[in-house]
């Protein structure tokens, strides 16, 4: 009798496992202790090894692995690794245009210390308007906007080192014809 019950239980268990795609199942009973492995899990990598997909991410797109002095400006922005911008950062919502630094240097929002910033969030700018300064080798380079529109966000902060291609501002471009990021 007990055997038949056990067999019935076992059959139900097997059906359950199959239905849920479980490839391996261990159980201890007293105070539980279960171990479940689903079908289709990647072949066990060598100890400490990576699957090809994981390695590709490490070497390829994901990019947040690079140590860099140019990490995000504020703690809230660390999710968008500045060192791996150009697509790897979270894409700006509503198709906002990123103004990127064309040179390596130090970002300043004002023409001189204490002076009001060139632009503030909410300002409207035309293409060619000066947005900020990036200082390199003691030269103050005025960085101009490449689109017309409204300043939505200042990404870099004054005194921050920036690299080539690093996002400085987000602009809601005015025309339909947007520059691609």
């Amino acid at each position: 009798m007990a055997d038949e019950n056990n067999l019935e239980e076992l059959r139900e268990l097997v059906d359950f496992l199959k239905a849920n795609g479980i490839a391996e199942f261990e159980m201890d009973r007293g105070k539980w202790k279960v171990r479940i492995k689903f079908e289709g899990a990647a072949a066990p990598a060598a100890a400490g090894g990576l699957t090809p997909a994981q390695l590709a991410i490490l070497m390829g797109g994901g990019g947040a692995a690079f140590p860099s002095p140019f990490a995000g400006t504020t703690p809230a922005a660390t999710a968008a690794p500045a060192a791996a911008s150009a697509g790897a950062a979270a894409p700006p919502e509503e198709d906002l245009h990123e103004v990127k630094s064309p040179i390596v240097g130090t970002f300043y929002e004002s023409p001189s210390p204490g002076a009001p910033p060139f632009v503030k969030v909410g300002d409207t700018v035309e293409a060619g308007d000066t947005l900020c300064i990036v200082e390199a080798m003691k030269l103050m380079n005025e960085i101009e906007s490449d689109v017309a529109g409204e300043i939505v966000k200042r990404i870099a902060s004054s005194g921050q080192p920036v690299e080539y291609g690093q996002p400085l501002f987000l602009i809601r471009a005015r025309e339909e014809r947007r520059k691609s990021n």
Binding site: M59, V104, A136, Y164
Partner: protein, 469 residues
């Protein structure tokens, strides 16, 4: 010792320098173009700064961008690698003005030794034999005959205003000289509007021999022996070795001493290479100096046991040569380097793209310097060198055997490489005999063409099934 060094280069040499710094406890800053974002030199440096778009001119050659990056990262010194800005005296000056130590000679010395005519004069004064050339224009056929008689045939007539092989004639005896003089002159007049000619000694089958030097900033210079780089195609080195089979210890010692004295007088600092041509009679002539570390520095490292890049860093930090090289330099065994390029092994067309399989050979006396990896991308913007295979054995035979074995295990798929070309060269009798010169690749190409024609156009099977052709 420097706390932090910026490496103003890319690819395998950037990784080489970063590795040496890492071993010495020096923090490293890599600079990279957007095309190199996922490069190994970027991944393995402590810090990395993007300095521009893919084109070299806008990134790696962009002096303000490189200097700005060094200032931002607070790097004390810049190692320029080879190529790019390494022999740019202006860059070295900007470094000096920005209070950043340039790891190399002073700008004035780079200018002096980097410029062919001033370098020749400097060597001539130091009694280093230089390739005889007329000091000015050869005004007439009579003057040409005179000069050729003094120097000895063969000679070459060259257009003063010229280049690209035009207005040039090789002359092997006095009978043909007047006629060739006329031809060269008219061709030059037609091509460049100026028929003036000068003359140089011509060597039919020269061997390219170069000497490695290290100099500290206290006036001490040391020669580390020679390399032979005769296997070249269109003036691009393909295979280099140390020592040269045709340099006796006597020549090595004598020439080494002369070079040391000359560079000491000139005030040379850091690493450098002096290039010579050797003629069929074993006479050698200075051609030019490279005021930087070279691609093939590895073969010298293998036979001398001296880490040249670490020496460069220590010299630039002010150390004395006697503290860096504490024993007499000895040449031990034989080393050969193969440049693995991302190009078709027969057509030599560049092969950029994604590497889908990558296996490096290893083992006793086998060294691979590379910054590529599986799934890595070879960008089209830069030179095609992707790896260097260096094998060291007790003699040339063993070094060649190791190289053949290593090449058979060197798998690169997804792009074309020169690996199959090297395999054929190492199977070639003339190469194996060591009786080589800079015309070797031309003769080899002819032999290959003849062999293929004999096999009715089918490609030979390669030794390893893993290599795609």
């Amino acid at each position: 010792m420097f706390r932090k060094v910026l490496i103003a280069n890319r690819g395998e040499i950037a990784l080489r320098v970063i590795s040496a710094c890492r071993e010495m406890g020096i923090r490293t800053v890599a600079v990279y173009s957007e095309a190199d974002r996922n490069s190994l030199h970027v991944k393995f440096a402590d810090e990395a700064i993007c300095i521009g778009p893919p084109r070299s001119a806008e990134s790696y050659l962009n002096v303000p961008a490189v200097i700005s990056a060094a200032e931002l990262a607070d790097a004390e010194a810049i190692h320029p690698g080879y190529g790019l800005l390494s022999e740019n005296a202006n860059f070295a000056e900007v470094c000096r003005a920005s209070n950043i130590k340039f790891i190399g000679p002073p700008p004035e010395v780079t200018r002096l030794m980097g410029e062919k005519s001033t370098a020749r004069q400097t060597m001539k004064k130091a009694k280093v034999p230089i390739l005889p050339g007329s000091d000015g224009i050869i005004e007439s056929e009579a003057a040409a005959l005179d000069w050729a008689k003094q120097v000895g045939y063969p000679v070459i007539l060259k257009a003063v205003a010229g280049g690209g092989g035009r207005g040039m004639r090789i002359c092997r005896n006095a009978e043909e000289l007047p006629g060739l003089y006329q031809q060269a002159s008219s061709e030059a007049a037609g091509a460049f509007g100026n028929g003036d000619l000068y003359m140089e000694k011509f060597i039919e089958r020269p061997r390219h021999i170069e000497f490695q030097v290290l100099a500290d900033e206290h006036g001490n210079v040391l020669s580390l022996g020679e390399r032979e780089c005769s296997i070249q195609r269109r003036h691009q080195k393909l295979i280099e070795e140390a020592p040269s089979l045709v340099v006796s210890s006597k020549l090595r010692a004598e020439l080494g001493a002369t070079i040391q004295k000359c560079l000491k007088d000139v005030g040379y600092w850091n690493a450098g290479t002096i290039e010579f041509l050797m003629d069929e009679d074993g006479k050698i002539y200075f051609i030019e100096m490279n005021t930087r570390i070279q691609v093939e520095h590895c073969v010298t490292e293998m036979v001398t046991g001296i880490d040249l890049v670490k020496a460069q860093l220590r010299i630039a930090a002010g150390e004395k040569l006697t503290d860096i090289i504490t024993r007499p330099v000895t040449i031990s065994g034989h080393a050969i380097e193969c440049r693995i390029n991302a190009e078709h092994p027969e057509k030599f067309t560049p092969s950029a793209g994604k590497i889908t399989a990558f296996n490096l050979p290893g083992g006793n006396g086998v060294r691979v310097d590379t910054a590529q990896y599986a799934e890595g991308v070879v960008p089209p913007y830069y030179d095609s060198l992707i790896a260097k295979l260096i094998c060291h054995g007790k003699d040339r035979e063993e070094a060649m055997d190791k190289t053949q074995r290593a090449l058979s295990q060197f798998i690169v798929q997804g792009i074309h490489t020169s690996i199959p070309l090297h395999q054929r060269i190492f199977a070639d009798e003339e190469f194996r005999s060591g009786k080589i010169d800079t015309k070797f690749m031309e003769r080899f190409a002819e032999r290959e063409a003849a062999r293929k024609a004999a096999e009715a156009g089918t490609l030979p099977t390669l030794t390893s099934p893993g290599i795609s052709s």
